[in-house]
Amino acid sequence: MFDGIIQNIFNALQWGSFYSLIALGYCLVYGVLLLINFAHGDVFMVGAYLAFFLATCLLGAGSLPHWLILALIVPLTMILTSLVGVAIERVAYRPLRRKGANKLYVVITALMCGLILEHANLAIFGASRRSFPTLVDQATINLAGLSVTNLKMAVIVVAFLVFILLELVISKTKIGMAMRAISYDRFAIPLMGIPPENIIVFTFALGSGLAGLAGLLFAMSYPVLDPYMGAMIGWKAFIAAVVGGIGEIRGALVGGFLLGFVEIMAVAFFPSTFRDLIAFTILLLILWKKPTGLFGVSRYQKI
């Protein structure tokens, strides 16, 4: 029973990477706007579909080598997905914010945006599953009973790289400083000569770009796409972000990996039906001990 444990650690790292990447997006938007962007899981789904269409187009376009296609798809998917995120902000959240609507209404709007994305996809492309084409030939590395693929390693490395980059952007750059400042006091920001709308758009672009990247990697790892693929994983990543301490990007990373580990280990030692029961009981206990999450600090303004 225990000889699979190292293998399961790698399985959990890969699965947790997806939670972390999505949780980071929730976290960024919450950190700046104190808004829970419930459409984020579906933006992730849109990212996976965009990657799918780009991949099929480029594969059909001619005899481009696969590494070049991948090199093109990564930035293109991220840019297009961030456009989707920014568009949602423009169309749905900004008008409400301008009218000074209560945050509750904005959150409900976010939920609706998510449902609209899901069902627009269902209506336009139908309910059939899509099969993501193989871009990278799978290379399995076998080491003493341990099997790790190149893709699995890449997913884990990307999750950590993204976290380090975000940490740098937020702590070392001017725009990062502005993001932290908005979070701290939204009304003082314009007085300092910083255009808050630009910062908000940048935050949405960054968060949705990450969702696009996560969608692409997810589609490569689990190459069956359906319109509801983002819903459940989005919810769970949100919970992971809350457990980590929403608004703290360290929290999102740790929360995502924690949920991934608990889920995989629960299945490894118990029947799979216990997975969510065990996972969420543990998360509940953490929140019970620390209601603001592992890294969170208490703020009076939360919903």
């Binding site: 076998n142 009973g145 459940m232 299945v267």
Partner: protein, 386 residues
């Protein structure tokens, strides 16, 4: 102007009524057009349309010396058991169908079968292989063979073909058909090789995409084969992840593999694997070939086993209606007469085999084993008869 509009509207309203005024046999289709297995619903719908146009082009269906038009009322059960119940109730009580065909998957068929049986309406599920669908329900029939029989054949096949002594199973515990098949396979395999020969019996839940923890256990268990009675949206993921985790042994499947677009989703990854199937398009002859050709001509796509079983089920229903010797127009009496006639069918020549209904609403048929070939698609391998 207003008057013209009203008269046009009135005309439009009367028009369909006038078309229906002729004698019509109403057949309800309770199928999975959206949800988890939309392709299954799509195939069923295509077959119904094809059938309808074929019969109506020939002037209708003769019952007791009178020609009837066929009308299908197609409703979506969203691949949910609750919706299947609602749809069944609607079709039977408000649309007043004579017979209901579908739902296809066991999860929906078990639930809808209860309604049909309570309302004393004949129902035939072309594709549901769980025994509970027809158990103690005299009004419910099926178009396919049963899971326990199918799984015995798979266990036997795995033993003969691969000399397997230990088996692993991975299935969706939240879905009736895979769960039933997994349990029947376990029993059949252990009957052959003794208790404990199924060394890993792993589960997951619907909509899961990551099976790495379960497959890690299976790879370490030392099993000779992996049996996974899942659908086309899960099989490619299971196979891919199993290979990534170092599984090099055979994987076998059940009839669930045949539904939908497994070839398109799985491609090369599934090459060389076997599963049991209700019918195979490749190498078809006689009436089976006729059906395959007409389906191909109409939809530019090969029919799958769901399509074939739906075609057979519709034929069985109409043959039974014909054998009643004439419809009285009293829905209750007619439904009873059709039910009696389906139960009496013997060696009915279907495209998926000769149907003889046994008591309990199950047909006795042979099980063809299909091989997946990356280039050729689903290829017939051999048949095992009861």
């Amino acid at each position: 102007m207003k008057r013209t509009l009203i008269s046009i509207l009135a005309f439009l309203l009367i028009l369909p009524c006038a078309a229906w005024a002729a004698d019509v046999i109403k057949i309800g289709l309770n199928i999975e057009l959206t949800g988890d297995i939309p392709e299954v619903g799509e195939f069923s719908k295509n077959v119904a349309k094809l059938f309808e146009s074929k019969v109506n082009a020939a002037g209708g269906w003769e019952v007791g010396g009178k020609k009837y038009k066929i009308q299908f009322i197609i409703e979506d059960n969203e691949s949910k058991a609750e919706s299947a119940v609602t749809v069944a109730t609607k079709l039977i009580t408000s649309d007043k169908v004579l017979v209901m065909v579908g739902p296809q998957a066991s999860k929906q068929a078990i639930a809808a079968g209860e309604v049909a049986n309570n309302l004393k309406t004949p129902m035939i599920s072309p594709w549901s292989t769980n025994p509970a669908t027809t158990l103690n329900r005299p009004y419910v029939f099926r178009g396919c063979f049963l899971d326990d029989f199918q799984c015995k054949v798979i266990a036997k096949f795995a033993t003969e073909e691969y000399k397997a002594k230990k088996a692993a199973v991975l299935y969706d515990i939240a879905s009736d058909a895979p769960k039933g098949q997994a349990e029947f396979f376990k029993k059949a395999f252990e009957d052959l090789h003794g208790p404990g020969s199924v060394v890993a019996f792993e589960t997951f839940t619907t909509k899961d995409v990551d099976f790495s923890a379960q497959l890690t256990k299976i790879v370490k268990s030392g099993a000779d084969i992996l049996f996974t009675p899942q659908y086309y949206n899960e099989v490619p993921l299971i196979i891919r992840q199993a290979k990534q985790l170092g599984w090099t042994k055979p994987i076998v499947g059940s009839d669930a593999w045949a539904g939908g677009d497994l070839m398109g989703m799985c491609g090369n990854d599934c090459n060389g694997y076997f599963f049991t199937c209700h019918s195979v398009s490749k190498g078809a002859k006689g009436i089976t070939k006729e059906f395959v050709d007409s389906y191909n001509a109409a939809y530019h796509k090969s029919p799958d086993s769901v399509a074939a079983l739906t075609w057979d089920s519709l034929n069985i229903v109409l043959a039974a209606i014909q054998k009643t010797g004439g419809l009285t127009g009293d829905l209750k009496k007619d439904r009873q007469a059709v039910t009696d006639q389906i139960g009496k069918l013997k060696d009915f020549p279907g495209i998926t085999g000769a149907f003889t209904y046994m008591p309990g609403g199950n047909p006795s048929k042979c099980v063809p084993i299909t091989r997946i070939d990356a280039k050729e698609g689903f290829v017939f391998y051999k048949t095992v008869c009861p």
